[in-house]
């Protein structure tokens, strides 16, 4: 008996090491199973604008309400009748300390805490504008990106601050995204590039397109690709920030810029609605699918629905630009991707026609990777 068990263990170890090299080479996760939440199974609207994860809870913002998903099922849909500030929910941020949920809407900011909503609007509070595109938490501060500048709310003192063209280097007040780093806050400004706020110093630093051209990229990797920035993400592992523009993807490591265009990389499209990043992963939410960059290996993986068969398609572009296409039985709900959130190994993707839950299947991942590697 003992001998048999030992042999089985050895066989398993050999099998593991056999698959490890290709996985390590690709160094990117593969999402082979998708579960979709649409109006067909309880979502209040197909267009999902934002998504956030809080442990085993998933919050999704749609054009017609806020959705709470627990244990894989839609537990509750919140709408203005429940106290939500507005039906159009653009973003969600969960305070990691308190668990309170802050929601950006087209009618102000909502705070959901202990089962009750409390709203902050331009008329009832110091919020700069009711059209709020994004919200983020930095210690006791709540940051909101609005069409009239950036609002910051001190939850302890109740003080509201507004950062606009009057007191910050905003060429445009229309802000789209916020990302919080250890000592900085980054804001994506539509037409104004990326702004970096120094928390300790209380000052702003702008990052703009060095060529200043709207249609051209004259200086590659010398600055932000474009000033029309739709989103910004901060990677706590690599200490880099990433900016999604409507003309490509930009990353900055504090010294060098790393820019990507669809013309010479595996990026699905230059029209990027949002970006997220962790570890070695950089994700771009484009109008033509969800692209994932393995930063170290320069390998791209793009997910999108297959051509009309309900199946999914994975396009892997290696650093040598070699393209491999894989087929999965399930698919993202749509190729127009609006945002993304991580839940452990899983991802949740906001699309134009539903919320998609991407699940890694390690047993398939190895086979697919082998397929990609060998073409068989």
């Amino acid at each position: 008996m003992k001998g048999t068990q030992w042999k089985r263990w050895l066989l398993g170890a050999v099998a593991w090491f056999a698959f490890l090299p290709p996985l390590a080479a690709q160094n990117a996760p593969l999402y082979t199973r998708w579960e979709n939440y649409t109006t067909a199974n309880g979502m209040p609207d197909d267009k999902v604008l934002g998504v956030a994860v809080d442990g085993d809870r998933v919050w999704a913002g749609t054009e017609n309400g806020l959705v709470l998903i627990e244990k894989g099922r839609i537990a509750k849909v919140f709408q203005p009748a429940d106290g939500l500030a507005h039906r159009v929910v653009t973003g969600i941020a969960v305070d990691p300390k308190t668990g309170d949920v802050w929601i950006s809407t087209f009618g102000g900011l909502s705070l959901y805490s202990g089962g009750q909503f409390h709203n902050y609007t331009n008329l009832t509070s110091g919020l700069a504008n009711d059209i709020v595109y994004a919200v983020a938490i930095q210690d006791e501060y709540v940051w909101a990106a609005t069409t009239a500048g950036i609002s910051r709310f001190n939850t302890r003192t109740g003080e509201w601050s507004i950062f606009s063209e009057k007191n910050a280097p905003l060429h445009e007040p229309w802000s789209y995204g916020i990302a919080v780093a250890e000592k900085k806050v980054y804001v994506a400004v539509w037409g104004g590039g990326v702004l970096e706020y120094d928390i300790a110093g209380g000052f702003w630093k702008p990052y703009n397109d060095p060529d200043g051209e709207m249609e051209l990229v004259l200086f590659r990797n010398q600055g932000l690709l474009h000033d029309i920035v739709s989103g910004v993400a901060y990677n706590r592992d690599t200490k880099m920030f990433w900016a999604s523009t409507y003309f490509g993807l930009s990353g900055y490591d504090g010294r060098n810029w790393h820019n990507y265009l669809s013309t010479d990389s595996g990026l699905a499209s230059d029209f990027i609605n949002a970006t997220q990043s962790r570890g070695d992963e950089v994700w771009a939410c484009t109008d033509k699918g969800l692209s994932n960059l393995s930063f170290k290996t320069n390998t791209w993986v793009t997910y999108r629905p297959g051509p009309g068969n309900g199946r999914g398609e994975i396009v892997i572009t290696g650093p040598d630009k070699k393209v491999t296409k894989l087929d999965t039985p399930t698919s993202l709900a749509h190729n127009y991707i609006l945002n993304l959130a991580f839940q452990g190994q899983d991802i949740w993707v906001a699309t134009a026609t539903g919320l998609s839950h991407g699940i890694r299947e390690s047993h398939k991942e190895g086979k697919l990777d082998e397929h990609a590697r060998t073409g068989r």
């Binding site: 308190t98 009832t124 110091g126 003192t157 109740g158 601050s161 507004i162």
Partner: protein, 637 residues
Amino acid sequence: MSPVPRKRLLPSGMFPLALLLTSVMAMALCAYWARAAQPETLPPPVVPQSNYLTPVEAKFSRDGMRLYVVCEDDDSVLAVDVRTQRVVARAKVGHKPKDVAVSPDGKTLYVSNEWSDTVSELDAATFAVRRTLATGWGPLGLTTDQTGKVLYVANSIGNDISLLDLSRGVEIKRLASWRSPHYLQLSRDGRRVYAANLLPHLGSPDESPVSELTVIDTQKQRVTERILIPGVLELRHIAEAPSQRGAYLLVPFMRPKNLNPLIQVAQGWIVTHGMAVVWPATNAHEAARHSKVAQVLLDDADYYYAGANGAAFTPDGRYALVTHSEADIVSVIDTNKLERRLRQVPTADLPNRLDSAREFVVQRLPTRSNPAAVAISPDGQSAYVVNRLDDSLTAVDIPGFNVRTRIDLGGPKVTSQLRQGERLFHDARFCFQGQFACFSCHPDNHFDGVAWNLETPQLGRDRVMNRTLRGVAETAPYKWNGHNPDLETQCGPRIAKFLFHSEGFNAKQLADLVAFIKSIPLPPNRHLAAGGQLTAAQERGREVFFRKACDTCHTPATHYTAQISSDVGTAAKYDTSGLFDIPQLDRTYEKPPYLHNGQALSLEEIWTIYNPGDKHGVTSDMTKEQLNDLVEFLKTL
């Protein structure tokens, strides 16, 4: 020579009578002279209020041998030996201490210091202060978790709850709690902390108040539920029944019918007093369905017991005690009968049933002045009532519920004018059927956060917001219509006629009461730096304030009020006049909602919603940034 006979002035035998009459007249004359030489009444003894102890809270040591008593006017905590009934230890803590928590091992005490924004940590054995821990604004109620590693502190001014890591002595997070959290209670199983909020949620002045009992999961350290209790305010203490009795909560409250004309006080039933009975949801799934809440009144049909405040269960849960701070009474509740009542009467009917108390209140025990809290010994043999304005405890034997003795905590033996005035302020016996005292609607000498239909007999007309009494001495005239030139007018015949519907206070009582109200101080300003320097935003706001000539009506030299009435276009549909007293702006951040009827729920709304004609200052040309700055400056006043 024969002697000349003397003429007798009085017939024989009349002399003793004359002597008596003369003596009486002389005594009367002396008495008259004495009276003429002195004022009408002797001046009250001058005893500074700070010399009184003013005990507000008491908790037992783990072994039940000591009672720890917090004294807010003495800035101290006492230890009372319950066998000898003597004070055996005393420690000075921070300013205005309000509550004490005992660590699970019984070795450490934590005392909240409301005006210092700190918690004092004491060695329970030596009574030495070990550390002073920073909290949020206005710390009141506090409790450790079951492990003793985390201290929860209710910040009444910050409207939140601080969680302090006791190993490091630092705050680890703050949880929002609407609004003015006062008392915290750790559940017996240690899984939850409940927070009772004194003031109701901010809401439309046309609607009844809704108060909140905040529930915190001690594992997740998150707010998991906000239990809404409609129609009530001033949630104070929380008592949890033993698990064998269902672990339900009793939360004393006041239930005002503030939307009805107060002229109806004479018909009774305008301000009632009772307690919420709460069955908390015990897991996340149940929380989604919300906890179950019932309300029962503790009043009788023809007499009321104002100021429902302290609450405690006997260890077996067979009885519960509730103090009535403004009636100087403790109600003894037979929980078997209470539970029967809760089963028999539909929950929707209970909040307005004045025939409930007779079913389950088995005794009304008299106390000394202002019983603020009650603690029951771990062995269930005794209860101790904290008599806040008597510097004493009332000891009660259980289960007979006989008042055993008064334990003197050692305050002054004379009653000063201010103390007498404060007692009157807390005394509901001056109101018809004892419905309410001044304190009932001015809890903590502040306000209750709701609008009242005061003097107009028509339902819904001329509703006005309650106003704070903190720092009002120099802010005459009084009332929103400015009709009362002084506090004597405000608190004398007017109160008697329009509010109490009784004879009211006599001249001396009125003088005492007014003296006390004038002595109510302003609390420290939490938005102003210790040195008084303004932040950049506050400085910009100050410039806006003066550039917009706000100081014309909100005169800095007189507490930011010109002490006249003005029409700034804020009259609502049912207001008879648009002229309103210009309110003082001291500590304005503590007083939402705003404007005469509380229609502005935030400072911003005063200008963004309720100043369409620019009559309340020309503000329509202000940028949002300027308005935010102005708001920040106003908070510094």
